[in-house]
Amino acid sequence: MAAVTETLETVQGLAQSGYKFGFETAIEMDLAPKGLNEDTIRLISARKGEPEWLLDWRLAAFAAWRKMEEPHWARVWHAPIDYQDIHYYAAPKAKPGPKSLDEVDPELLAMYEKLGIPLKERAILAGVEGGASNVAVDAVFDSVSVATTFRATLAKAGVIFCPISEAVREHPDLVRKYLGTVVPVADNFFAALNSAVFTDGSFVYIPPGVRCPMELSTYFRINARNTGQFERTLIIADAGSHVSYLEGCTAPQRDENQLHAAVVELVAFDDAQIKYSTVQNWYPGDANGRGGIYNFVTKRGACRGARSKISWTQVETGSAITWKYPSCVLEGDESVGEFYSVAVTNNRQQADTGTKMIHLGRNTRSTIVSKGISAGRSDNTYRGLVRIGSRAAGARNHTQCDSLLIGEHCGAHTVPYIESRNPHAKVEHEATTSKIAEDQLFYCRSRGLTEEDAVGLIVNGFCKDVLKELPMEFAVEAQKLLAVSLEGSVG
């Protein structure tokens, strides 16, 4: 699936939502004041025309959330979040955006340029007012046919790929059957919040035996405006099916909403495989850490069927705070969980990320490869749990956890938790910490590489085992992104 098509597809989606907002803005502004209570949730549900069961589900989540406390065990620090000071429903343009590119942070623009993002897209990413509609209108002309082909191909294969709000209307039985079965509403504080107030996200269903004919992507370069803070994704791979899903984008995305709490649920049945790849580059804030996104995500996959496989690959370079542990619950015998992660922190960024591999079935296997890169005054923590249940005879885990430090003022921490209730399981953990040395950079530069290229080369070498898991076109962009994210971090 070519990146171009995906971008166009997105542009078109944006155009449509732009029109939709055109009708609804006035009402929404009246109806979605700041704050969270049952009325807010009823309002969200009503605005989306949801069935009764979903409203009840949301209210149950809200009731649970009210009894919960914001977790503080992660190695991150932030000022208290006032949950009553947030708009929970589509409050478009809560703050006026910049009027033109001239008003946008020049550093952000410079980064767009380095990543090779077309001029038109830069305006949208930077949240320039009116930028979206201009581009969307332009793009609709040449993208309609491409997008239609894209949909037709999926439909022919029987694949359902649509916004989750649409799935609630069109495929209510599927949604009701699986929603909240992997991440229960009361799983954790942020998941409960998301369950109460999620506004949209993606829904995917792959029928038995079907190999999804293309990479499914929210590779929405242009989703800065419509992703929403509380995104909900549900992917179901029926027996023997395969799907590869790409989320996120390499371009730095700004959002006026500081708090993001997404939930992603994956379900894989017998012999099914789900590959979920993420490139996360939310705005990290300025060099002093002001204004960045807080990204508190719950991602979990259930390998329900025998020999099923779920593979998470993530490249995390953005956000002021990242709190994220994509996990696998290996229920089916011989099921496989994988977690490949690169987490970069620079300046004042904080990342506490890792995974949980819960081995329940026999001969289940999991692989964890985590590469943490810290620069500036940032803090980067790997936190990983490997749990072997009593029934999981023959279970195996291998964890490789490497940290790379750039400069003198950053931190890298590794916090592995291993719990085994079965003596016939094998768990291996390896960890290394290294530094980019001055003489390595000089060596590269004396061969003609710029410092930026040299850091890129060394960092990409360090991350190779993870980057090779990304779909090709994503991998190339991710490589560039790593170099750009770390620019100026040396010397």
Partner: protein, 249 residues
């Protein structure tokens, strides 16, 4: 050509080079010999642009341009190449990838077209073969787990690919077996032409048998204390630095 005048440099506030005067005309190969710790590697680092060395006095020009004002990568693009005394390991970075990135960076800066992976591999394999390097060294990570001699050969491979106009070889012969020594010398000789010059730092006369220098300089205590023709190297080998430097003082 390389022209160094009154060059003084220190590291961590400690003066190492104390006024070097040296001219290497185009087409010539000059050897630098001298006791351990006399500042030979320091001179090579300063010429290549290592930032932790502070130049406190003097100038260095290369083909008329102010070398000391250029970033290390600009010097590389201009044609300066340093074969390190102790080549650096780059874990995770494939040697072929590194060489191609370097070659293309230099070619780009010189206004030449970049080589694609196929063109590059063909070239690199041919050069590696000339240097009798096993091909798997291109696949391995840069200098990681290389033997001492393999590291040195890898430096010469880089030199052969980057085709410098000024090659500075810092004890590239140390740690090489007899055959490798000849191969390395042949590698430098192959680059010899009127617009190429080399500064060869060595402790051993043997390299200079294969790589006959136009001039030999003795560096001691951060200064060039005496210079002469190829015969000076023989004399040093026979009588030692102490006698020669004492005479020169």
């Amino acid at each position: 050509m390389l022209e160094i005048k009154g060059l003084a440099a220190s590291i961590a506030g400690k003066p190492i080079l104390r006024g070097i005067d040296l001219v290497v005309p185009s087409g010539e190969v000059h050897a630098i010999m001298g006791p351990n710790g006399s500042g030979k590697s320091t001179l090579s680092y300063v010429l290549a642009g290592r930032e932790d060395y502070e130049v406190t006095a003097g100038t260095a020009t290369f083909e008329g341009a102010d070398l000391l004002a250029m970033a290390p990568e600009e010097r590389a693009a201009a044609g300066v190449f340093l074969a390190f005394q102790a080549p650096i390991e780059l874990p995770g970075v494939g040697n072929a990838n590194f060489l191609r990135t370097a070659l293309n960076a230099v070619r780009r800066a010189r206004g030449e077209s970049e080589l694609d992976a196929v063109q590059f591999l063909k070239l690199a394999r041919a050069e590696a073969k000339r240097l009798a390097m096993p091909e798997d060294m291109l696949k391995r990570n840069v200098n990681v787990g290389f033997s001492g001699g393999e590291k040195k050969r890898n430096e010469v491979l880089q030199m052969a690919l980057l085709r410098p106009r000024l090659a500075i070889l810092d004890e590239t012969d140390s740690g090489l077996d007899i055959d490798a020594l000849k191969i390395v010398a042949d590698g430098v000789n192959a680059l010899r032409r009127p617009e190429f010059s080399a500064l060869v730092i060595t402790h051993h006369q043997r390299l200079l048998d294969h790589l006959v220098p136009d001039r030999v300089h003795v560096l001691a205590g951060g200064r060039i204390v005496c210079s002469g023709g190829p015969e000076l190297a023989h004399e040093l080998e026979a009588r030692g630095y102490a006698a020669i430097t004492a005479e020169a003082a």
